[in-house]
Subunit: 198 residues, 6 copies
């Protein structure tokens, strides 16, 4: 079970409203490579992961990603606080506003509600961990792109923290898959499930 | 942020594998009225909820629902442990198995991956809380239906616990909307946002 | 069966083309809380609604919402009549135009085609009516938001009429659920199906 | 606007419950080529259809299809009335039941909720009418297939009526496109919009 | 099987970057009436098409459409080469950029990832060929609309080539359906499968 | 552009109809980890891949996967040839049959039409190649699962061939990412784009 601790993993203090930027950053809330997909992927995969330390790794990272989801929500919320009428009407935010006002809804920047079709739980330890490596790389690129699109230092400071964490997670999943390969079969260069191929 | 506590909110101990039942109960993991939608709905709505005690209520219930999601995942996992070949092949589980083996994936019983289109964050306190009342009623009916479909006492004991919690949440959301109505306007029988109608 | 009467429930006469506004108002045609979802929800729920007067209420309101869907279609159509080349090319309408020209297509403002995943028919009278209360609140907020985004008096006059109707429907569904609760069990404060809990 | 007339276009009286058959016939309620898509397609296309008699044709057929949607809903409802516990649990209906009990929900037989992605409104008279020809052919095949899967004479009598109507609609759309071609350009064998090609 | 020939069916040489135009033309890559849907529709329908020459026709056109998909990809890629920071940030491209950088992803202009729900394989020769007629008409209109939105001669030269090919395909499918009708039943004006109606 | 060669990459000769097995194997046609997603992913990613030999690798494998898609289509088609009435009606195939007869439609075994949401083109060479590693692993597991569900030697012979090819592709993508890492930065153990991190 989960316990809520009333603080963010890393502080979020945005001074300047910027609804267009909010409408882009929302992609890390509910977009194809965002924090919702990350946390749900890891917290779901852990059930069928056969080794306790890998189960624990998925639980740890999945729980941390829930905190990242919250941080992204806080950024979006703060970027849309106290908007003037004119800011609400600007082309980059009005399509979001008409259906969600300034609520935080899990959608991609493109306007597509989050779908579990963008993640997989394959029930196979090597396939699941390779999926996780890919997920972390894709999240890293999304953060790269947000940094290219934003020049708000308050936002970018938080985005850099989150991007750094994805890189750490990538490394931890890489170590996990390495240890799994060694455990399964030292010469299994194809990342197969050797029990099936015997 | 969230902290993981290594126990379930209520214990899950399933003795008898039953893949067909797993393929139905998965709907409370990733179906239209399941625990993923519940937790994400409440944890997302809280950002724009204007009163601290309502924000706190959404956080509390949303966090508890994350624990329910975990419990449903545990039920599905335990119902599909150690399957024989024949059990894997049975018509009610094979379509799930081919794409997810015995991993726990957020899908409806009908085979439709979870989509955020099944929930809403409207950024309006009355609309969001009324959505929450509906969500709890729909979750309650899904649990009713699972009880009609299952005769495994180990499963039903847990389902009854979860169903009971939905009823408590419904009551708490009902009290919240009542207090909000009183706060907004004692005579606002239409549940409108009075600031707009002035 | 349905009979078409060749007039709108309330007249729509838009003088000034405004494709950006059309691309937002389309959300009440095919968006998550729009008139298509409303009419289909009520006209579908009525089959399993056990009491004739509630079945009749769902049929009445569902049929009226079909007329609202038509009114929204008329607004979108009139806002995009006789566009100049420059108006067609403007950023707020070109993505819609490329795939639908100026046809009226059931999509959300965000560009997501309407999906039945945004509504529910639960086959339980209390759950279905609570869903309907939520639907009317969410539609009301969408109309609030359109009024915030539009300053065309021809449009706003119609939107205010439609918004008013949602409030009336909300009230009627509220009365229906109240009468249903009394019928089921006077002390059933949890809105449960008492037949299951005995 | 629409007026509801309290009778079906053609009577539906099913004697024998058959939940598996209901779970297949639902595809004509909310499946890719069903009556919801048909009615919404025609009632949406009419706004941009430039000639009054074609606008009227789309309105007429679209309104009739709303009545067919109602007939399919009645079939599904009657096939699932008064089910025994055992009938509810059978593999062909349980996945539907867990999320919708015996409510009538717009989904395909495959379990996929109806999506507007399965229809198009192109804002071009020739493209829209050709889409309508295809829609009627696809609906006709679905009814063919239901007749192959069902041996209930009460059901098949109604399905044959509906199938017959699709064939009549196909013929009427064929005549409409023929008259449109003649109007646009007698030699336009390519079904193009000649205004663009000049 | 397929063999790749390292050239485009028709050359693509775009000089001027234009990310907004790229974000519209992408609809012919992954939009509802684009080249992905076209090729997949024809290459899938051919399996159940009963006559060798129609099977061959579907294979030929389906294979050509794969080459058109490649040409559209090349247009999108060339329109987004070497963007300046300012061009990346412009409102019409930033939502795409945040999730895909300048990669070519199969999405509609509206931001909706391609879905097979927008095509059908009905397993009936007349229904499938009528669907194909509609598909070609809808693709033709999309190209019409791109020509209305673009004033880049390098782009428009290629779009005109592709549009011309859709018209040729429409004519070939029209001839195919004509020969099929004659083969099935000379008087079958309703385009039915006569084997079912006997 | 692509040229069709009228033979399968590997022969498919199925003797025994088995519609239930067809309804499972279809997942490699249009399921989340199937051949459609594979070919489209690689053929789309190649546009933004910066090095000619990696662009060539993606084109080669993407083109081969088009041939695998065709082989899977041939398996599904042959497994459903000449069905008796009773075979058509069996629970595992009827939901597919009602909407597609015995046509080959791109859907998952679970009944969910293929969606591009299940793949990504990130426009970043390391992220895209890591996604490809994951895709090959997931396809390999799906083939493992089909082998667990099928005991038809004619089918399994082909499935083993396809599974073997996925393993070869995985290895080739692994070598590609290794060479890319060396090129980018010999010590870049995090698989980052070093140009961004300087």
């Amino acid at each position: 079970m989960f316990v809520y601790e009333k603080k963010l993993q890393y502080p979020v203090h945005i001074v300047t409203p910027n609804p267009r930027l909010a409408a882009l950053i929302i992609s890390q809330y509910g977009g194809p490579d965002g924090e919702l997909g990350a946390s749900l992927r890891y917290l779901s995969q852990r059930f069928s992961m056969p080794y306790p330390e890998l189960k624990g790794l998925l639980t740890d990272i999945g729980t941390e990603e829930l905190g990242h989801l919250e941080m992204i929500g806080a950024i979006v919320y703060q970027l849309t606080r106290g908007l003037t009428d004119e800011q609400v009407r600007q082309a980059g935010f009005d399509a979001y506003f008409v259906d969600h006002t300034t609520g935080v809804y899990p959608t991609a920047a493109s306007g597509f509600p989050w779908t579990a079709a963008s993640m997989q739980v394959k029930g196979d330890p090597i396939a699941d961990l390779t999926e996780d490596l890919a997920a972390e790389q894709k999240a890293r690129v999304t953060y790269d792109n947000i940094l290219r699109l934003s020049d708000d230092p308050d936002v970018n400071d938080v985005i850099k923290f989150l991007r750094e964490r994805e890189i750490v997670h990538f490394q931890r999943f890489g170590e996990a898959i390495q240890s799994l390969r060694e455990r399964l079969n030292r010469k299994n260069v194809y990342y197969m499930n050797p029990s099936f191929d015997q």
